[in-house]
């Protein structure tokens, strides 16, 4: 529980000095891994995430192949050193769930019929975590998929909103996430205003939810622009 007297909001600002609807610093680098078909390094404040895409490649085991389309696989994995207290390595209940949710957030944009009977592997490694890693992972994976030349309808952008000290704020950091009242990650296709994934833990009223969702949707537009710029600039430098 929250320590006595810990204020998450002081004088209209958050602990790290951000205003309520301000994102953390974002840095995107495309094509960072030489051996992957597509890759992306994504920083969201103190979150450091790397996504690698392999494929489409031959699907194994064979019986899991889909004769009509490619199968998307998504692995969200936290490095043991990514959090303050060493995390036991390997998949756990939490990361299995996040993998599933993230995969389903990306599936609507991928044109899977293009490469039947294959698999597309997405590996998302969390190198450093400061709340909001699943959203950072989805952002990174989306850029890495585009970099791998996977046929897609659009990019997916993602961000979380939450409630701290009774206020709706954007993009919670670890302290806010731990001691706040609610956390709601949203993934969407920014250009179409279409939500592909939404989760929430904690409590919000309906009006708070609507306010938060609006805030997240606006932020996704900004993230989309950054993802886009990162991809375009990679081939403009020459």
């Amino acid at each position: 529980m929250k320590e006595e007297g810990l204020e998450l909001i002081k004088g209209g600002k958050r602990l790290d000095g951000r205003s309520f609807d301000e994102l953390r610093q974002i840095r995107i680098e495309v094509g960072v891994l030489k051996r992957a078909d597509g890759s992306c390094y994504f920083e969201l404040g103190d979150n450091k995430v790397i996504a690698a895409v392999y494929g489409p490649r031959e699907m194994h085991p064979r019986h899991a192949q889909d004769a009509k389309m490619a199968v998307l696989k998504y692995r969200y994995n936290m490095a043991p050193f990514s959090v303050d207290e060493r995390k036991r390595p390997g998949p756990d209940r939490r990361s299995v769930e996040i993998s599933k949710v993230s995969r389903e957030a990306l599936e609507p944009v991928i044109i899977k019929e293009y490469y039947p009977k294959t698999e597309i592997d997405v590996y998302v490694e969390i190198l450093q975590s400061d709340a909001g890693t699943r959203t950072a992972g989805i952002n990174a994976a989306s850029v890495a998929l585009a970099d791998a030349g996977i046929p897609m309808k659009d990019l997916v952008s993602s961000v979380a909103v939450g409630k701290i000290d009774g206020e709706i704020v954007l993009d919670l950091n670890a302290v806010e996430d731990n001691y706040g009242e609610a956390d709601m990650p949203v993934a969407m296709i920014a250009r179409r205003n279409a939500i592909t994934a939404i989760q929430m833990d904690g409590c919000m009223t309906r009006s708070e939810f609507e306010k938060g969702l609006k805030m997240a949707m606006n932020a996704c537009q900004k993230i989309y622009e950054l993802q886009r710029t990162a991809l375009i600039e990679r081939y403009s430098e020459m």
Binding site: G31, R57, E58, I150, P151, K153, D154, Y235
Partner: protein, 243 residues
């Protein structure tokens, strides 16, 4: 000038011009892949990266990866394996290959030039051996993204013709992005460096002239002991592989 697009970028209102690498939604054409727009009669997106999708009639360089009587299983740098039937190797009906002796004709890791004759609904790919192309002798096999093959060949073969002349190498470019180079060691080195340069700069204009200049100056520098390989270029190029 070239225009880089990402998936979902709006391209045109004219649905009839939608070409490869695009999709249509709500009467509009959008980019389906991350690449460069090629706008002629058709609007196409030429992707920077991607896996080779076999098409009937393509000539590919394949590598034997398995022998499974009466087929050789062939890797064609694609998500799908291809197969070459035993009867492709023997000349007409003179002799049959005995069970267990297929490796004496083509063994694992052998390279072949083959044409894709058929692809069925299960993505089983049949090959026909092109005996007129033998990849014998010592040479190099390099792999580039298949999407760059048209650029490497150039308009009416201008780029590849120039490359062959200036490098003194035999160069065979297959549709699946595999390239066989044969020549003197030094020449092969130059040829593969230049192919990588073409691959990383495929989307820029005036490339043929730039490459020609590069090769000329490279040759003269080599004589003065200033031979410097484009190491950075190589690092940036991911799909590069040499057997």
């Amino acid at each position: 000038m070239y225009k880089v697009v990402i998936p979902g970028d709006f391209l045109s209102d004219d649905v009839s011009r939608a070409g490869e690498g695009t999709y249509i939604e709500g009467g509009k054409v959008y980019a389906m892949r991350y690449g460069v727009v090629d706008e002629k009669e058709e609007i196409k997106v030429v992707p920077f990266m991607g896996k080779y999708l076999p098409t009937r009639g393509d000539v590919v360089i394949g590598k034997i990866i398995e022998i499974s009587f009466p087929y050789w299983i062939v890797d064609i740098a694609s998500p799908y394996e291809a197969r070459l039937h035993m009867s492709e190797v023997t000349s007409d009906n003179e002799k049959r290959i005995e069970f267990g002796s297929m490796h004496t004709y083509l063994d694992i890791d052998d390279l072949i030039v083959a044409k894709i004759t058929n692809i069925d609904a299960l993505m089983r790919i049949d090959l026909a051996l092109m005996k007129e192309f033998q990849l014998g002798g010592t040479g190099r096999l390099i792999t580039i993204p298949y999407t760059k093959v048209p650029r490497l060949i150039g308009r009416k073969g201008s780029m590849i013709k120039m490359l062959k002349e200036k490098s003194n190498c035999f160069i065979f470019v297959a549709k699946n992005g595999r390239i066989w180079i044969r020549g003197k060691e030094e020449d092969m080195k130059l040829a593969s460096e230049v192919i990588l340069k073409i691959t990383t700069e495929a989307h820029t204009s005036g490339l043929t002239d730039r490459v020609a200049n590069f090769m000329d100056s490279h040759r003269s520098r080599m004589g003065k002991g200033e031979y410097k390989v484009m190491r950075d270029e190589r690092r940036r190029f991911r799909a590069y592989k040499r057997w």
